[in-house]
Subunit: 277 residues, 2 copies
């Protein structure tokens, strides 16, 4: 079936991260539509706001239907300009700010550039350190400092370890090391954790994936190889899952998960606390 198309604008006087997330939350509830997305960041002057409002109205005229507009404009003046456009405006501050002011019993102090995470010295440091830690420990580059890891993600090649670790570091300030599984791990004589990993048993978390999906991902990397063959993928996945089970490493099948979901799942399962605001 052909999906109906709607144009969506995300408007912010800053990064549009918040407007985007709200939009995503709502739009994913309507799977029968295709949403063409346009981002307008740093809409921080009246003239730029008028330009955007005009673009919305022109789009409405051209498409014969109103664009959907998610706005996190902090400045009441630019917000009013967007409200005069021919879009259907969903505005975070319109929806929630008054209720919040009533609850906190103070007026807000609207300031452009505060629509997302404000600069925070401690969080900045923690985040940089976590990203540096994670990059230094990507792909088993070094096993030094595993004692400083909050979590050690392990799994076969192409199971999403690296993006997961990077996301954990970036969004939660978590030191996430990445230990790629190899056949050596499966064949360790005592059917137990390798000497490298055993001191860190409680930090381990495994990623697994459906073999046919792994086959697709590996084929994109190295087509027509033993590495990417369905048979090899099936064997490795079975051995990896056996390994996780026999060594009591918690794990998750990431076949249909986004990086956000994998990361949130690990935070939840390992009872990790975010380190940054």
């Amino acid at each position: 079936m052909n999906k109906k198309t709607r144009t969506v604008f995300y408007i912010s006087d800053n990064t549009a991260v918040a407007a985007h997330h709200i939009g995503q939350s709502l739009l994913t509830q309507f799977q029968d539509f295709y949403f063409r997305q346009i981002f307008k960041t740093f809409v921080d002057t009246l003239s730029v706001a008028w330009e955007v409002a005009n673009e919305i109205t022109k789009t409405a005229n051209a498409e014969g239907q109103k664009p959907i507009v998610f706005s996190s404009l902090v400045n009441p003046e630019t917000r009013q300009i967007i409200l005069q456009s021919d879009g259907v405006v969903f505005d975070i501050y319109d929806a929630f700010l008054e209720k919040m002011e009533n609850e906190l019993r103070v007026a807000s102090t609207p300031t452009i550039g505060r629509s997302y995470r404000i600069f925070d010295e401690t969080s900045y440091q923690i985040r940089i350190n976590a990203v540096n830690y994670t990059l230094a420990h990507d792909d088993g580059l070094t096993r030094k400092d595993y004692h400083k890891a909050d979590v050690i993600i392990t799994g076969l090649s192409r199971t999403g370890k690296t993006p997961t670790c990077v996301y954990l570091a970036m969004q939660f300030g978590i030191n996430a090391a990445n230990y790629p599984m190899t056949e050596d791990d499966f064949y360790s004589t005592d059917k137990n954790l390798s000497l490298i990993l055993s001191p860190y048993h409680t930090k381990l978390f495994g990623l697994t994936i459906d073999a046919d999906r792994l086959h697709v991902l590996r084929t994109k990397r190295i087509p027509n190889s033993r590495y990417s063959s369905l048979k090899q993928c099936q064997t490795e996945v079975r051995m990896a899952e056996d390994f996780f089970n026999s060594t009591n490493i918690p794990y998750v099948n990431i076949t249909k998960m986004s990086v956000e979901e994998i990361a949130a799942h690990i935070m939840h399962e390992k009872n990790l606390q975010r380190r940054i605001n």
Copy 2:
């Protein structure tokens, strides 16, 4: 002045990413408060919802004031349970879903696990490839494949190049290479771009920082060194900015910016389009 404290809950049947961003947008408008933040992810059964509702009510009783609750629960039943707690509930779907249904003239199909970016094959691939590209080109590791870069971020040591590149890759699917500036770049005989960079002039974007802030950041890394001395930081910052100016590389001073803001600024200035939903 002592900040007033309020407890904040973020509740989601999935990752709580959306609830968190909305909360951040609103809370940053109230700078006189300290917000103690509690995350409740994967609230996907009625019994877990009741546990969370009870925790909210207990917190209200213990603190003598209602916690603030940001919810992105998709399931109407769990949402109702949270609404019965003693919190002040800000709910994305309560606020916006009906308006969206009216506009799109269809009912939504609420499904747990859709509260954030759904799994999307193309985006997944683009994102993984961008993260891999960015890590391979971190810290000038290799200058091969600069022609595949969407942007090449350059700047002095400790100006936030790596987290910025990682964020660009992760959130926007952008191939972001990272070229650390050294004194060799400043002293190139023709006062021009080095031979390495000159073919990629249009892809370059510079990061700079206040010298006293750089001094603080470098001191945390290597205290009492020439590298971290204020004098050295002042010299390097001046030379870096002279270099950006004389070679016409656009740049931004990141002293008071979050990684989100730096990344959004670069997307905007370099007119880059996000590659993922």
